[in-house]
Each structure stands twice: as structure tokens, then as C-alpha cells.
């Protein structure tokens, strides 16, 4: 966290807008507030245009000569193809309801992080080139010329949006900044403006299978290592299979869950649950990434990566697909996958082999969220659980932005929590469920060079966590998102020391009583259960 100001400095946020008009001010590319430019090799790996060396802080971004034409044609094309783009350009009344809803605005005070103004950055160009009033009255009508400075401004602020949709919830017309960010980033990538973290993830996902760049055999290695860990802690060794044809389910998790702590414990949780149930499932080294990093660059790249899931399910001949805990991953699976790469007529309507429950809500896409799956198991009494094994955990639950506002999976994880944990406290109501705050690092913003901005964006969430941390002694924040599990540990270290992050299925596995299991004394992290702490030896 070098170079990041201390919390008491960072929180001195000035919400007073400057006297200079927003049309004339330019962004300052200060270290910690922008993501680095992508190396050309990543663009080449996925055939993205204008791969070149450039630097965000450089004056000259080495844009193609006809960049302006490319951008304007790109806008025209998208205005014709996306009703959302056309409508959201036309109907904003600048009522300001969205202004203080954005975590980046709350954390920076930068007026261009008010969703309305972030959208105006695009809208001002739309007016100038695509509306009569903008052509006639120029600045007076809120229109302005497309210049390199405007393009740089787009880059700066479209990468200060995590596509969390909180603004869209409060907008009286449902204008969705996430949609505009996606389209705006598409435009930027048409002239080769991409960030290193996102493009490296996309490039790795594309050929290797996941964002960490682990090819199938390495993927297997990692999972086997996690099986070793499971065995060590519980005495039970899960036996996953890889690329196995004829399995009943294909299980797809976000790669964050087998990459690093604490996500790995969630993955161990999945493995143990499946072992307990004895279900017939397979993992795949080809469809080894549930998270869709392509979606953060363009709809097209999202589709190109998402293709793998259905195509692998088809090749392996599974009946349906089960998906792990992840945020944007589920927005894509829920709202885009079927349209992009469906229809999945080679799969069967999902039915739980254990309970016989038909997942009617997933009968077309044929992919079920693991929390829906597990909630159904618990409801039908198929899991023997010892809640007290999570008594060392005082939990709060963070609704990840995309499953909350792009799907609505609010009760399933809570139902599971209430069945595996005795100490559960909600954060203040204006910060949870559909009104939840983003972690501040989603949509490919979790780059190391971006820490300061991530801490700023994560402030509202961290602040609500601090509230329950102090009031109820909450020491763990549960979540159903791999990005959450990756980015909250440093965020909490900064804002709320003493908080841990935990996946829901890690807690399920803690509580799960296997038939004839050995006496368990620790959780998956090898921390003693409450009442099982080793006695301190006095001579030491």
C-alpha cells in the first residue's frame, strides 16, 4: 500500500464542485488513480486493433490517424444497434438523483464521477455530432467537440466505474451507467485503448482457460492441491474429475476461487459439498473460468470468452451446468449467455439429482447458481449441518453488485447463512440488497497500480462494514463473488482492520457433517472451532 495516503487523509473528501465548468476541465492522471495501458501482446492475442506501446501519462497516446472517424462511426453504429444507448443519450433530465449513489463519487468527490456527469461525457459528443440542437447551439446545448482530451477523459472516468448499476436503481428512467460504460469502453478499444490488467486477463482466458493463465494440466494440479488441503483438514478427499465425458453436471467456478486465499477455501467448500453429495460432476480445463473479463471490454469479447462454457458442456455431453459464486460472472450467465451462445438445446432442463427439484427459472439457459442449488438441498433436509462449527465467525453479508441488481439473488445466500451460522448481522439497510455498494474494484479495476482509487471506491462498503464490526463484533464478511474475495482483504486491511472475507460455501463446508467423519477441530483455514482451541501450554 505504498504511496496510498493514510485513511484519515483519504477521507478528507471535498464534495464542492470546482468553479470551472466540467466541459473545460481535464483529468489529472495522478498515480494510483488510473490503470496502466495494455501491452500490445495482449491485444494481438485476441486480434484487437491498434496494438501499440503507449502510456497513460504520455501526451501522445499514439492514436491511429483517423481515430476520430473510428470513434464517431462506432458511436453511430451503436446508436443503431442498442436502444439502450440511443435512449440513455436522449432522455436524461439531470435531476441528480444518481449523483451521490456512486461509490466512486462518494469516495472521490470528483463531480465527473456523478453518474449523470460521467454519462454527459459521452452525451456531449452525441449532441455535437448526432443532434440538431447540438450542431446549432454547441456548448450552450451541452455539446462539445471530440478531441484527444475528451478521449482521455472518457478513459479516465469509464475506468472509474465498476458497472455496478447502483445509479440505475435510483434513476427515474432506469438509465444505466453500466451500459454506457460497457459501450464507451468498446469505443475506446476500437482505437486500441485498453488497460493492462483487463487485457492480460482476457488474453490468458482466451487461450489458456482462465485469467491466471493456468492451462488444463496446471488447473488440475491446483485443484488436486486443494483436494490435499481438504483431506488434511477434514480427512475427506474429494475426487473431482477433469474434462470427463458423460458426467451429469459441468461445474464452472470463477478462477479467483482456485487462485488465491481466501477464494481457495470457497473452492474447497464446493469440492467437499460435491463429495458429500456424491454427485456426478466434472470440471473442465477448457471452460475453467466462470468470470468473464471480456465483458469488461466489449460485448463481443464477452461472447468470445463465454462461448467456451456451452461448447464444453456440449462436447462433454453433460445434462446441465452448475456455476460457482461470482458477481459479474453471474450477470453474464444470467442476462447474456443464452442470447450470445444459446440456445442450449443440447442440454436438459436442470433437475437436482439429490432432491428432484426442477429449476424452472433456469429451464432455458440450463445453468444454476450454486446458492440456488444448495438452498434447495438444505430446504429438503439433504445436508447434515452443525452450525456451531461456525461459531467463531460473526458474519455480515455483502450483496455483490451484479447478482443483486442484474439478477436478484438476495434470499438464497441468506437462507444458507441462517442454516450454517449462528451469528449473522445485516449491515444498514440502505447499503445492502438491491441498494448494495460495490467493492470498488469490479469490472477489471483490481489492478495493483490502482489501489488508491480502489480504496476510495470501496469506502462506502467498508464504512458500512465498520458499523457492524463495531456494533456487533462482526469479524467476517460473507460474499458470493470471487472479485470480492480477492479485493476485500486489502480494502479491509486499509479501512477496517480485523475483518476477514469468506465465501458462503466455505461456511457450508465448515458446518457439513460427513458420515463417519473424523473428529474435526478446525475450519477449512485450520483455525480452531469455538471451544476447541488448543490449551495453552504454560511452560511455553
Amino acid at each position: 500500500m505504498e504511496g496510498v495516503p493514510k485513511p484519515e487523509e483519504l477521507i478528507k473528501i471535498d464534495y464542492q464542485p470546482p468553479s470551472q465548468s466540467w466541459m473545460d476541465s481535464k483529468p489529472e492522471f495522478r498515480e494510483g488513480t488510473y490503470c496502466n495501458a495494455s501491452a500490445p501482446k495482449w491485444l494481438e492475442a485476441v486480434d484487437y486493433p491498434y496494438a501499440r506501446e503507449w502510456s497513460v501519462t504520455g501526451d501522445d497516446w499514439n492514436l491511429p490517424e483517423n481515430w476520430k472517424e473510428i470513434i464517431l462511426n462506432g458511436m453511430k453504429d451503436r446508436l443503431d444497434r442498442f436502444r439502450s444507448f440511443q435512449l440513455f443519450m436522449d432522455i436524461c433530465v439531470r435531476c441528480g438523483a444518481c449523483a451521490d449513489k456512486c461509490h466512486f463519487f462518494i469516495g472521490t468527490g470528483d463531480p465527473k464521477n456523478m453518474p449523470v456527469l460521467r454519462a454527459e461525457l459521452l452525451r456531449s459528443i452525441y449532441r455535437r455530432y448526432f443532434t440538431l440542437s447540438g450542431k446549432l447551439f454547441g456548448k450552450l446545448a451541452g455539446a462539445r467537440e471530440l478531441t484527444e482530451d475528451v478521449l482521455k477523459e472518457w478513459f479516465y472516468y469509464l475506468y472509474q466505474c465498476t458497472e455496478c448499476r447502483r445509479c440505475s436503481l435510483f434513476c427515474p428512467y432506469g438509465i444505466d451507467m453500466a451500459e454506457l460504460t460497457i459501450l464507451g469502453r468498446e469505443l475506446l478499444s476500437m482505437v486500441g485503448i485498453n488497460t493492462e490488467w483487463e487485457m492480460a486477463s482476457v488474453g490468458s482466458c482466451y487461450t489458456r482457460g482462465n485469467h491466471i493463465g493456468a492451462p488444463p494440466h496446471a488447473f488440475k494440479d491446483i485443484v488436486e492441491f486443494l483436494c490435499d488441503e481438504c483431506e488434511e483438514v477434514t480427512g475427506i478427499r474429494p475426487n473431482p474429475t477433469y474434462n470427463r465425458k458423460g458426467a451429469e453436471y459441468l461445474f464452472v467456478a470463477p478462477s479467483g476461487d482456485y487462485f488465491a486465499d481466501p477464494g481457495t477455501y470457497t473452492f474447497m467448500g464446493y469440492l467437499l459439498l460435491f463429495e458429500y453429495l456424491g454427485i456426478d460432476y466434472t470440471l473442465s480445463g477448457y471452460a475453467a473460468e466462470g468470470g468473464n473479463f471480456g465483458y469488461f471490454i466489449s460485448h463481443e469479447m464477452g461472447k468470445r470468452l463465454n462461448y467456451k462454457i456451452y461448447s464444453e458442456a456440449k462436447r462433454l455431453g453433460v445434462k446441465w451446468i452448475l456455476g460457482g459464486e461470482c458477481g459479474h460472472m453471474w450477470r453474464v450467465l444470467h442476462q447474456y449467455m443464452d442470447t450470445w451462445n444459446g440456445p442450449a438445446d443440447f442440454l436438459e432442463e436442470p433437475v437436482s439429482a439429490i432432491t428432484g427439484t426442477k429449476f424452472e427459472n433456469a429451464k432455458s439457459t440450463k445453468m444454476v447458481h450454486i446458492c440456488e442449488f444448495t438452498a434447495d438441498l438444505i430446504k429438503n433436509g439433504k445436508l447434515k449441518l452443525d452450525k456451531s462449527r461456525n461459531d467463531h465467525i460473526v458474519l455480515t453479508f455483502h450483496d455483490s453488485c451484479n447478482p443483486a441488481r442484474g439478477m436478484g439473488i438476495l434470499e438464497e445466500p441468506r437462507y444458507i447463512i441462517r442454516n450454517v451460522c449462528n451469528n449473522f448481522y445485516e449491515m444498514p439497510e440502505n447499503t445492502i440488497r438491491e441498494k448494495t455498494f460495490c467493492c470498488g474494484s469490479g469490472s477489471s479495476l483490481n489492478a495493483d497500480e490502482y489501489l488508491e482509487m480502489r480504496f476510495r471506491g470501496g469506502l462506502p462498503r467498508a464504512n458500512a462494514v465498520r458499523y457492524v464490526h463495531e456494533k456487533h463484533g462482526v469479524n467476517h464478511m460473507g460474499c458470493i463473488c470471487a472479485i470480492d474475495r480477492a479485493v476485500f482483504p486489502p480494502l479491509f486491511e486499509y479501512w477496517v482492520p480485523g475483518m476477514d472475507v469468506i465465501g458462503i460455501h466455505e461456511m457450508v463446508a465448515n458446518a457439513l457433517i460427513f458420515p463417519g467423519e473424523m473428529e474435526r477441530k478446525t475450519d477449512l483455514r485450520e483455525r480452531p472451532f469455538k471451544g476447541m482451541e488448543p490449551e495453552e501450554k504454560e511452560e511455553e
Binding site: D100, F170, K220, H299, P343, W495
Partner: protein, 343 residues
């Protein structure tokens, strides 16, 4: 654009709009201001709105992207939020009705404030509280405007439909002045003033405001004020007014013999200006809100496939390509292969 510039340009534009009929009718151009301009404005309004509606309707909705504001419909024993996260058309109709009739999303509005908190390590705490003022201002404005518009039907119908008369007597139940004071006129002006003052006083809103935000507020204020002046203070010949308006509506436009009064022509000209302005401005939200795909689509994505009319094939990295790349290592790791290594 500074605040002063955008605000005063808007204000002067409205003042100019008041002066135009003042001069024009003064030199005897009643036909222009009483007949030609209103017709022209109405045509612009209708054509413009229809243009926008056709433009939006013809643009495809590639993806089904409702913003979900409550529990999804999944397992039968989990209660889903039928209106805030609708899963079928009836739910969507309910959600849209709440949105259009009661401004559901604005009603959700919160105010966020970073407060000093000496007890916390970083000395700050963020608090949120329900803030319904904007909702109240907006809903009072829109319903007052609707009431005023409906009352005006009495100028365009003969006989006057019963609901207009009823509304009129209801609206004017406070008989504190003669002629009866209509509540809607007062609340309209009050709400407009609130919306305008809010835009000027709140530094954030002032910062995002364009001339096209001040201008319609000032213009509608002008319409309201001229209407109030006409009804209560600078009385006009009401029979002559109705003769003119009925002429317009029956497509037999005439300018009455009697002198109607300048204030009427000012009022009519401002209304014409507003009508003509709507399609070229943010005021198209009145039609646009119905098209908003984050509100008007059912969250049944995984149950019913949504088809994008322009979806095109993309370049993908196939399983075979991956196996070709890592066949040896995969075999060594014991992962099944499609095509084994040739010995």
C-alpha cells in the same frame, strides 16, 4: 459554461419569448399568433414525438437487461419480489405503472453524507437517509401540470365532458377568492419554484445543469404565471377565448371580433414554444420512460431465451485448439483427450 451564463441565457430566452407576441399582436398579427404558430407548434410536437418513438422502437434491444430491485423468482418457497423484480409481463406492467404513475425509483431516493466522526479511526462516517423532497417536487409538478392540462379541455370541447367539470370544481373547492382559486395552479408554480431553486442552490446540481435544464423550467413558469395573471388579475374575454380555441380544434380557425387581451396571446405563444421545444429536448423523457429496458423487461432471462436480431458469429478459441496446444502435458496429467498422441 458558467452558471451565470447558462441561467441568464435561459432567462433572457423566455423573456424574449414573452416579448415576441407582445410586439407581434401589438402590430396586429393575431392570425399569426392565434392560429398559425399554435398549429405549427402542434405539428412539430406531434411529428417530433412520433419521430422519437419510431427511432427508439426501431432500434433493437439486443439484450434483456432489467435492473433488478428485489428478490428474483427461483425456488417456489422463496418469495420473489413481483413488482421490483418482475418475472412476467403482468409484473412488468405493475412495475411500469408504479414507475410512471408514482415515480417508484425516485421514491427510493437517499441522501448520502460524509459526517465527521471523531470516534472513528479515520474521523469520518458515511450516513444515508431517506430523501423524498425531489420525489415530492417532481410528483406535485407532474400531477399539477396534468390537472391544469385536463382543466383546459373545457376550452377545446363542447359540451364540456363531465370529468372536466368535476375536476374543476374539485380543484377549486377552496373558495377563497373570486373566481375560485385552483389548487393545481398554485401547486404547479410552487413545485416549479422548488425544482428551479434546488437546481440553483445545490452546488452539485448547479454544476451538472445546462441551459436546457433551466429553460424548460423557466418556460413552464412563464406559462403558469401568465395563466394565473390571465385568470385572476388581467381578466380576458373568456367567451372570445373559447371561440378561438374551438376554432382551432374544429379546424375552422377564426380570430374573434372582440379583443381578447395581450396576456392571452403571450400565454398561447409560450405554450406553443413549449410544444415545439419538447421533441428537441430532454422533455422527450415523457415518451422515453416507456422504452427503458432496465424497467420494462421481465427478469426471466434464464427461463425464456432472449433473441438479439443482429447477433453475429464471433471468432472463438475452440477446445481443439487448446488440446493441440497442450496435448502432451494434458496426457501426462491424465486428462482425457479427444485425439491421442500418435506414437
Amino acid at each position: 459554461m458558467s452558471f451565470n451564463f447558462t441561467f441568464f441565457v435561459s432567462l433572457f430566452s423566455v423573456v424574449a419569448l414573452v416579448c415576441i407576441p407582445l410586439v407581434g399582436v401589438g402590430v396586429g398579427l393575431e392570425i399569426l399568433f392565434g392560429i398559425a404558430i399554435p398549429y405549427f407548434a402542434l405539428v412539430l410536437f406531434l411529428a417530433g414525438i412520433v419521430y422519437h418513438i419510431i427511432k427508439w422502437a426501431r432500434t433493437p434491444v439486443p439484450y434483456r437487461i432489467p435492473t433488478t430491485a428485489g428478490q428474483q423468482k427461483t425456488l417456489p418457497w422463496i418469495k420473489s419480489d413481483y413488482l421490483d423484480n418482475p418475472h412476467n409481463t403482468w409484473g412488468v406492467i405493475g412495475r411500469m405503472a408504479l414507475e410512471v404513475l408514482f415515480f417508484r425509483s425516485l421514491f427510493r431516493n437517499l441522501k448520502t453524507e460524509l459526517r465527521k466522526a471523531p470516534e472513528s479511526p479515520e474521523k469520518g462516517r458515511i450516513v444515508y437517509w431517506s430523501s423524498k423532497w425531489l420525489w415530492l417536487g417532481a410528483i406535485v409538478f407532474h400531477y399539477s401540470f396534468l390537472t391544469v392540462l385536463t382543466r383546459h379541455l373545457k376550452f377545446f370541447t363542447e359540451p364540456v365532458p363531465f370529468f372536466v367539470t368535476m375536476l374543476e370544481s374539485f380543484d377549486g373547492f377552496l373558495e377563497i377568492y373570486l373566481p375560485a382559486v385552483y389548487m393545481s395552479g398554485l401547486t404547479l408554480l410552487l413545485a416549479l419554484t422548488y425544482l428551479l431553486v434546488r437546481r440553483i442552490v445545490d452546488s452539485k446540481i448547479r454544476y451538472i445543469s445546462l441551459a436546457s435544464d433551466y429553460f424548460p423550467l423557466l418556460l413552464i413558469l412563464g406559462i403558469g404565471i401568465s395563466g394565473v395573471l390571465m385568470r385572476y388579475f388581467l381578466k380576458v374575454d373568456i367567451i372570445a377565448v373559447k371561440e378561438l380555441t374551438m376554432g382551432l380544434v374544429t379546424l375552422h380557425p377564426t380570430i374573434p371580433e372582440q379583443d381578447i387581451g395581450l396576456i392571452f396571446y403571450i400565454h398561447l405563444f409560450l405554450v406553443s414554444a413549449l410544444l415545439a421545444y419538447i421533441p428537441f429536448s430532454k422533455l422527450v423523457h415523457m415518451a422515453g420512460v416507456f422504452f427503458s429496458m432496465t424497467r420494462n423487461m421481465a427478469n426471466n432471462n434464464r427461463a425464456v431465451r432472449h433473441v438479439n436480431p443482429w447477433e453475429y458469429p464471433v471468432k472463438v478459441f475452440s477446445y481443439t485448439e487448446q488440446e493441440d496446444m497442450f496435448r502432451k502435458q494434458m496426457k501426462k496429467a491424465g486428462i482425457p483427450l479427444e485425439r491421442d498422441i500418435e506414437e
